[in-house]
């Protein structure tokens, strides 16, 4: 050993300390960034040549990170469903406002009851027709809201797919940098942070699983196993629909040519925003639409008129309520989109030049359907029959997922119950997923994040090392000085 080798060691210590300080200052700079992970400078001793910086690594926790990814997907998916249900809920609104289809049905029944107590009054007849118009309009509006929600979900799916493609392209370039850097042995920790951030964003759109291979290379699959990224990004495709009507179904999303949502798929994804949007577009909104369609069908059938001739030969036809297929009745099974086309028959609508008194007398379908043959003013049989029919059980299509036999009013309030229950449980589930996401993000951040206090104490340590090394250099210098003086 010689003085010069001691000098070299002291110099290597200075250089290493400088490197460590630079890593430390990177940590401090990103202390407020929740996505940043803490970097650690690994120092090794080189026999005979002092110390040097071997590598920079970052603190990771793969289990917690995967937890964060799956919570992100679930929270995003459920959040989407809750938003859609909030929009659908405007068809029911606060129970106190009596704005739901069930409440409007009752208002119609009440108007008929009042009309029945004063069957010669035109004002009461018009009030009954007005109540009928209100429920028809409410069903039309409800149908519009549902199709609006579906179309919005379809448009959002388009946006989500575009976003996913962009994210996968960025992922590809970052991943390439990481593989290259790892092979060259350079510091890739910042790229790794960036890649984690991209994974979080991807997992918002679709539930994913990742596989890490040699050289830090990573492949991404959906939670159902379809490849999204493997060496190169796979193309995600989706055909947007300009507007969805009740009779149209939107198209599927394809990843790498495989459908990941829709009824035809066997590899459907289970979480993420795309999953939530597909559930809204193809399931929740469709079921609610079919419930409104069934209410509309029940109304048209309950108010149907039958042939009043002594020997009836003509089929029953639509009465006060009619639809696009009128005057024929809509039959006994679900007619998609009926809630959008139900309306008041022009013959009974004073606004369209009709006669509201036909509610009492019948004959909206033609002369053969007149119930009040003698035209007496106190005729209440038809009105009473309508009230009875409104409160009599009817058969409903089980495709709407409610009871198959109920009175109109009960069916409508069961439908409201169905929606509110979906909203309550989706809300509770979304809250739970959100909490889970916050907790797992917190735990991950607790472990991998930066603590300023610790960095500061580390800095003190580095300062001391730097001072000591400097002192060593000056001491060696003094020793060499005295050696040279002795020689002179």
């Amino acid at each position: 050993m010689s003085l010069s080798s001691s000098l070299n060691t002291a110099i290597s210590s200075l250089a290493t300390t400088a490197e460590q300080t630079s890593v430390l200052s990177r940590n401090v700079a990103r202390a407020g960034d929740p996505t940043a992970s803490r970097k650690i400078a690994n120092v090794i001793t080189v026999p005979g040549a002092g110390v040097r910086l071997a590598s920079v690594t970052r603190v990771v926790n793969v289990a917690l990170f995967n937890n964060v990814l799956s919570s992100t997907s679930s929270a995003a998916g459920h959040g989407t469903i809750v938003d859609a249900l909030e929009q659908l809920e405007q068809t029911i609104n606060d129970t106190e406002l009596d704005a739901s289809p069930a409440a409007l049905l009752q208002k119609l029944s009440n108007a008929l009851q009042q009309y029945s107590s004063a069957s010669d009054s035109l004002a009461h007849a018009q009030a009954a027709v007005g109540a009928a118009r209100d429920i028809a309009n409410a069903l039309n509006r409800g149908s519009d809201v549902i199709q609006e929600v579906r179309s919005q979900a379809d448009a959002d799916l388009g946006g989500a797919v575009d976003n996913l493609n962009t994210l996968l392209a960025r992922f590809e370039s970052v991943n390439t940098q990481i593989v290259k850097g790892t092979r060259a042995g350079s510091d890739v920790t910042d790229y790794l942070d960036q890649r984690d951030q991209l994974l979080k964003e991807i997992s918002e759109e679709v539930g994913i699983r990742t596989v890490t291979r040699g050289d830090n290379d990573m492949a991404i699959y959906t939670d159902s196993g379809v490849t999204l990224f493997d060496v190169a990004a796979r193309q995600i495709t989706f055909q947007r629909s300009p507007f969805l009507s009740a009779t149209m179904s939107g198209s599927a999303v394809y990843a790498d040519g495989v459908p990941i949502i829709g009824t035809a798929t066997t590899m459907g994804i289970g979480s993420g925003r795309i999953h939530g949007l597909a559930k809204v577009r193809d399931e929740i909104a469709v079921v609610y639409q079919s419930q409104l369609d069934e209410i509309a069908r029940g109304l048209i059938n309950a108010f149907a008129e039958s042939d009043q001739s002594p020997v009836p030969t003509l089929p029953d036809v639509a009465g006060i309520f009619t639809w696009n297929g009128g005057p024929a009745l809509p039959g006994n099974t679900l007619v998609p989109g009926l809630a959008g086309s139900i309306r008041i028959s022009a013959a009974a609508d004073p606004d369209q030049g009709g006669d509201a008194m036909l509610v009492r007398d019948g004959g909206i379908g033609g002369a053969a359907y007149v119930y009040n043959g003698t035209g007496v003013a106190g005729f209440t049989d038809r009105i009473d029959q309508l009230i009875d029919k409104m409160s009599a059980p009817q058969a409903f299509d089980p495709a709407a997922r409610l009871s198959s036999s109920a009175t109109l009013g009960n069916y409508a309030s069961t439908s409201a119950a169905w929606l509110e229950e979906a909203r309550r449980s989706a809300g509770a589930e979304a809250d739970y997923r959100e909490t889970l996401l916050i907790r797992s993000t917190e735990s991950l951040n607790k472990i991998t994040g930066v603590n300023l206090d610790e960095e500061m104490t580390l800095m003190l340590e580095l300062e001391r090392t730097f001072q000591a090394s400097s002192k060593l250099i000056s001491t060696i210098d003094a020793m060499l000085e005295s050696l040279l003086a002795a020689v002179r």
Binding site: A31, G32, P34, R38, E89, I92, D94, T95, E96, D98, S100, A102, A103, L105, Q106, K107, S109, N110, Q113, Q114, S116, S117, A118, S119, D120, S121, V376, A377, G378, F379, T380, D384, S391, G409, N410, S413, T414, S415, A416, A417, W418, L419, E420, E421, R423, R424, S425, I438, E442, N445, K446, I447, G449, V450, N451, L452, D453, M456, T457, L460
Partner: protein
């Protein structure tokens, strides 16, 4: 080697997130205290929302039914008092007829009185209620009885004149009427004249009312008759008796024939009074059923209101207590945040 480690960021994030949550709860609690109902009824009740909607609709249905029952009741009350009025005037007339049976100059005054009674009777029966007539049955928009004394002579008056002329060969005001025997008069009254007040003459000449009474739904299961009509036998008998005295030339008749006429009129009026009583009793029964039904329904309404309240209501005191608790929690959170943020090793270096 680190056994415990926490990042600076997670310390500040945790206080921030809990604050946001508390503020959301505070907004809901404030609304609940104001309205005494859940901030979001649908979301809180879930599937039970269907139950409260059904209850509210049942409430609205019963309220409407009670309102329409009140209308039906007032129509029946008015019918009752009109019937009572008919009974009272008929009784008056009986007293007058008994007093005038002796004939002579009284006969003229009895005939004049009969005329005005007949007009009064027709006016009373044509009583309107709301937009319809009380005694028209379901034909409520048509005046039940046509006027008798109008000009040109009404169908009913013409029919009486024709019947009299066909029977006796001269008109009612002809002095020859003094020759009509009591027996002939009795025969005329029992057959031709009486037939004028039976169908089909009654419905063509006198009455436009329908024999079908108004029916009203007074509860979800009860559909009952709530009117009477001018075609009931009591009304025909009254019309017959008043016409008999007013328009058969009573002042020209011989004393025995006059007495026969008055006796027949008395008989008819007394029968009519009895029959009016039966009608009144029938209506009274219907009135009772309506008021019973309304009473039952208002009891149901009370129960339903209670059920709706128990589903949707929040105790405002509980909400107020929750608010003060949340406020304390927020204050503690603010205080802690500032204390934690002030803690830094930088202050000691």
């Amino acid at each position: 080697m680190k056994t415990t480690f926490i990042s600076t960021n997670s310390i500040s994030a945790s206080t921030r997130q809990s604050l946001a949550r508390v503020q959301q709860q505070l907004a809901d609690a404030l609304k609940e205290m104001d309205t005494s109902r859940y901030a979001d009824v649908g979301k809180t009740l879930g599937y039970r929302t269907g139950h409260t909607i059904s209850l509210r609709q049942e409430h609205a249905r019963l309220t409407t039914m009670i309102e329409t029952n009140a209308m039906v009741s007032s129509r029946m009350e008015s019918t009752q008092s009109t019937l009572q009025n008919l009974v009272d005037t008929a009784k008056d007339f009986v007293a007058q007829l008994l007093g005038s049976r002796g004939g002579g100059p009284n006969a003229i005054s009895v005939q004049t009185e009969g005329k005005s009674r007949l007009e009064g009777f027709i006016n009373t029966v044509n009583m309107a209620f709301g937009s319809g007539y009380l005694f028209a049955g379901v034909n409520s928009d048509v005046k039940p009885l046509s006027d008798y004394t109008e000009t040109p002579p009404s169908a009913s008056r013409q029919a009486v004149a024709n019947a009299f002329f066909t029977e006796f060969g001269f008109t009612q005001d002809d002095p020859a009427a003094a020759n009509i025997s009591a027996a002939d008069m009795q025969t005329f009254l029992d057959t031709t004249f009486s037939a004028l007040f039976d169908d089909p003459s009654w419905s063509t000449d006198w009455s436009s009312a329908s024999s079908q009474n108004m029916r009203s739904r007074i509860s979800s299961s009860e559909l009952i008759e709530t009117s009477t009509n001018a075609n009931e036998s009591a009304f025909r008998k009254l019309a017959k008796a008043y016409t008999m005295v007013a328009d058969l030339g009573a002042s020209n008749l011989s004393q025995p024939t006059f007495e026969k006429l008055i006796d027949q009129a008395l008989l008819d009026i007394n029968t009519a009074i009895y029959e009016l009583g039966t009608l009144q009793a029938g209506l009274g029964g219907a009135e009772k059923r309506v008021s019973d039904a309304s009473e039952r329904m208002s009891l149901q309404i009370d129960i339903i209101s209670k059920q709706v309240k128990s589903l949707e209501e929040v105790d405002p005191n509980e909400a107020a207590a929750r608010i003060s608790q949340l406020l304390t929690q927020m204050e503690v959170s603010y205080a802690l945040t500032s204390r934690i943020m002030a803690l830094s090793i930088l202050n000691y270096l």
